[in-house]
Amino acid sequence: MEDQKVDMFLLTKGKYFRSYHLSDIRSRLKSVDDSRGLVQTMQFHDPTLLLIVSILVGHFGVDRIMVGDTGLGIIKLITCGGLGIWTIIDWFLIMGIARDKNMEKFLMFV
């Protein structure tokens, strides 16, 4: 992939990943052949949106379901947000979880 496209990807989607992953992403993107432009169209979880969702409706497990942890989301719902404790813990964890899930998705493709 061309350097310009790599820079564009990191500029637009760098916030979806943890900062220490960015150099690994850069080196992988440089070595990938993206003539069909599939990498650019990959959809990632927005950590900021998930934080807002977690604060507003995290009690119902919606934040966990949105990141793909469906089972945990259901358990969170039926335990009243893990008795409220899990709700609060996820306010602090959800952005990191979203970034980790994004990295897993990226690594599956690249």
Partner: protein
Amino acid sequence: MPFKGRSLYLGLTALWVAGLLYYAVVPGNFCFFSNITSIPCPSCGATRSMALILEGKLWEALKMNPLGIAVMVAMAGFPLWMLYDLVLGEPTLHKTFRKAETIVRRKWVAGLLILLALANWAWNICKGL
């Protein structure tokens, strides 16, 4: 635990212990959502439902909150399943959990569960829990 899914087992154990402590020690309603909004959440009444099950009043428990039955089954079954996995050295709970997640992700299953959750929530609000 020497096998895959350690974080799931540890998380569920913590939840189980918290559930036991909540049932045994905490008086009144601890629901975060209902205390702030005055509207019951979908799982409000589950602990009271479990108390009714322990008294042998299954129909009253179902009317209080059907989720109480699910939580009761989970609270009773989880330590047994955990023990089974520890003895066997196989993460069968973790495997079943992952398989269940793929089933729940199917659109019709997810849609049905969402409808049931919303219906239960509406019923909770009507009951004035």
